[in-house]
């Protein structure tokens, strides 16, 4: 074994031991990247093994008495709980609605559970709940059941919300992560990175030209508009944590296809690009809360795109890439400058770089 400080001998064939085994949960396990995937593969999937879970969709699709139901749940932990462009309550409603909408479902009912930290101001809770009411009303869903628990001061971060949603698929669509086919077009519904950078710039007290606002929005209306234009939508995902890069990788793997995207076609707001440059982050990996990625049949792409652009949440929609038979399970980016690189899944959180 070579000691530190001398160049290690590459011909010494002793078996290297991995250095960093995590015996505990680290923040990266919640990043949506490879570490999150490991938790899923090692702990959750073996325990709950069943056909619905195995699809690894944003929602489970269940046939109950010949009715197709979409069923999903999501927990919301965000600091600060109020941020430019939204708050945790609005996020908790919209996030769950979006998980249903990404299956082509019409969201109907939501259950909400609250974990409140001792000392939280009642007025803050009231504002969060009012914001949930408004978001649910705007999206046409009802919050029909719920639960509240309180934990000691210091055992929670103000409040955590878990929402569970139920929706119905009443249109003839077959949207699933494994349906991307070579030739399909990749459509992005608008600018990327807004939510993640809004949170980060507020958290780090970074000031940029113009405030960056979260894009938090319920996408069920946009999805109905798209389905009305053409049912030939193969995959739909909302690129939340892990961003567009992680979502496209998941789709490429699930469908066993290659995906190529063009950097210059990807809409990114100036302020978001600037903030990412300063912090050394890549907007492709930054979270969105009101955007979707659609993979659609080539002949349907134009009609779906123009339908999206007619909707306020899709006005900046663009075709950003294509599905290929080449390099299956891999996402390749054509860079603005004319180079190419692979867009891989991050293993943990993106970290600001030293220099």
């Amino acid at each position: 074994m070579a000691t530190n400080g001398t160049a290690p001998d590459p011909l010494n064939g002793s078996c290297p031991v991995p250095i960093a085994e995590h015996g505990r949960i680290v923040l990266g396990h919640g990043s949506g990247g490879k570490l999150s995937g490991e938790l899923l593969q090692d702990i959750f999937l073996p325990a709950f093994d069943n056909e619905h879970l195995a699809r690894l969709g944003d929602q489970a699709m269940l046939d109950v008495n010949r009715t197709r139901l979409a069923f999903t749940t999501d927990s919301f932990v965000v600091t600060p709980i109020f941020f430019p462009g939204g708050d945790i309550g609005q996020l908790a409603i919209n996030g769950t609605i979006n998980d249903l909408a990404m299956g082509g479902a019409r969201p109907l009912y939501i259950a909400a559970a609250f974990i409140l930290e001792e000392g939280l101001e009642i007025d803050e809770l009231r504002r969060v709940v009012e914001s949930m009411r408004a978001a649910a009303a705007a999206a046409g869903v009802q919050v029909v059941t719920g639960d509240t628990k309180v934990v000691e001061r210091g055992k929670g971060d103000k409040l955590f919300i878990t929402t569970t949603g139920l929706g119905i698929v009443d249109k003839p669509v077959a949207i699933s992560a494994d349906r991307a086919r070579p030739g399909d077009k990749v459509i992005l519904s608008g600018t990327i990175g807004d939510h993640g950078m809004a949170i980060m710039s507020r958290r780090e007290n970074l000031e940029f030209e113009g405030t960056i606002e979260s894009d938090s929005a319920a996408l069920n209306g946009l999805v109905s508009t798209m389905i009305a234009a053409s049912p030939d939508i193969h995959c739909l995902r909302d690129p939340t944590r892990g961003g567009v890069a992680t979502t496209l990788n998941e789709l490429a793997v699930a469908s066993a296809v290659g995906i190529e995207i063009d950097e210059k076609e990807i809409p990114v707001r100036e302020a978001v690009r600037g903030a990412c440059e300063i912090m050394g982050l890549d907007p492709l990996y930054v979270a969105n809360e009101g955007k979707l990625v659609a993979i659609v049949a080539p002949d349907a792409a134009d009609s779906i795109l123009s339908a999206m652009r007619s909707h306020p949440l899709g006005k900046d929609a663009a075709i950003v890439g294509e599905v290929l038979a080449e390099h299956p399970r891999m996402v390749v980016l054509k860079t603005t400058i004319g180079g190419r690189r692979i867009v891989d899944v991050l293993f943990g959180e993106q970290l600001p770089r030293i220099c």
Binding site: P8, P10, N12, P16, A20, G28, G339, L351
Partner: protein, 373 residues
């Protein structure tokens, strides 16, 4: 962003590459010194645009990578102490020591915080007078002035509970070490733009003259790197060896004198260990004696830890440009950012991690035959 976009223009890039093809008659091996440049090259796919006969090899300029294991272990031992608030730049948190990384130590209850400037630590120190606030001062000449300023201010204003764990390294001695290696393949250098913005490039003129090697001080945007490469190839083709400044919008020959003054006031030059390379004489900074009250290495008595590097790792040769990530059997298999075996895989700026992050573990590219000059 307009300022940045100007340096990412595809048409101009094509023109530079066409010119490169026109002037080049032989294959050349050029090293970009700085980890920020390596990152930019793979992020923008510049390596996929260059003629195959121009090989960019990646230098030792990733501060996270070259920080020796024993200092990382020392940092971990300090961070675990209950009276300490340990502050660091983000990318040091994932760097594995002999046992684990700062993320794991944080998850076990230590108070570890990501900061964007060492001056933020002074604020934390003032807000927590009962705690000892330690900043992990890692980096090259670029990060050193702000760290020096933090110590200087703490000293002047009597913030006694602030200290730094210094592991600063200097670029020119590492370039000399690469050129002195009998296995050296590097024929020209893209000099580190931001380091030179601080310290100027007089010292590089001495290196260039002594080793008869072209050095082009280069920026970090795609067009900077392409233009720097073209300037280096022009020198090589015309058998010149001098220092040229591609990054004139940020770098002056004398550098930033104010920054240099604070460096002189707070730091002394010392020998340093480089992870993967070994000891290089006069290649780092340590705090001067007057500032010993702010030197975490002497405040905290940490037992010397016996550190071990995995034998399969070839990061030393990668840092010197002798080998590339693909030459390593462990690359992308046994050694990944999740389980780094050595220096060049631990930070996003390390050559192996940069290759891995941008998918280069999936597509090898042949190395250039070195030119017999």
């Amino acid at each position: 962003m307009k300022y940045v976009d100007e340096y990412r223009n595809a048409e101009l890039a094509d023109k530079i590459i066409a010119e490169l093809r026109r002037v080049q008659t032989r294959p050349w091996v050029i090293m970009e010194v700085c980890g920020g440049q390596t990152h930019s090259i793979v992020k923008h796919g510049i390596d996929t645009m260059l003629p195959e006969t121009v090989e960019l090899v990646h230098g030792p300029g990733c501060p996270v990578c070259v920080t020796p294991l024993e200092i990382i272990d020392k940092a971990h031992a300090i961070a675990r102490r209950p009276e300490v608030i340990f502050c660091s730049f983000g990318d040091m948190l994932r760097v594995p020591g002999s046992e684990n990384d700062l993320f794991t130590i944080k998850s076990a209850g230590a108070d570890i915080r990501i900061v964007y400037s060492p001056l933020d630590c002074l604020k934390i120190a003032r807000a927590h007078p009962e705690k000892k606030v330690v900043f992990f001062a890692v980096g090259f000449e670029t990060t050193a002035p702000a760290n020096a300023m933090a110590v200087w201010q703490a000293h002047k204003k009597g913030v006694k509970n602030f200290s730094i764990l210094v592991s600063h390294v200097l670029v020119p001695p590492s370039i000399a070490a690469i050129l002195q290696s009998p296995q050296n393949r590097v024929q020209a250098f893209l000099g580190p733009g931001h380091v030179c913005a601080v310290v100027g490039y007089r010292e590089y003129e001495a290196l260039s003259a002594r080793y008869r090697v072209p050095i082009v001080v280069t920026g970090f945007e795609p067009l900077d790197i392409l233009e720097g490469t073209l300037m280096a190839v022009r020198q090589l083709e015309s058998a010149r060896a001098e220092v040229e400044n591609q990054y004139a919008r940020a770098v002056q020959r004398e550098g930033n004198l104010q920054a240099q003054n604070i460096l002189l006031e707070v730091f002394d030059i010392c020998d340093r260990q480089w992870r993967g390379i070994g000891s290089i004489p006069k290649s780092g900074y340590k705090l001067r004696y007057e500032f010993r009250d702010h030197d975490a290495a002497s405040i905290f008595e940490v037992q010397e830890i016996d550190t071990k590097e995995p034998a399969a790792c070839i990061s030393g040769q990668i840092l010197k440009g002798i080998k590339k990530p693909h030459d390593c059997n462990a690359f992308g298999t046994l050694c990944t950012p999740r389980h780094p075996l050595g220096a060049t895989m631990v930070s996003a700026e390390g050559a192996c991690a940069a290759y891995y992050a941008y998918g280069r573990h999936l597509e090898p590219r042949p190395a250039v035959e070195r030119n017999p000059e």
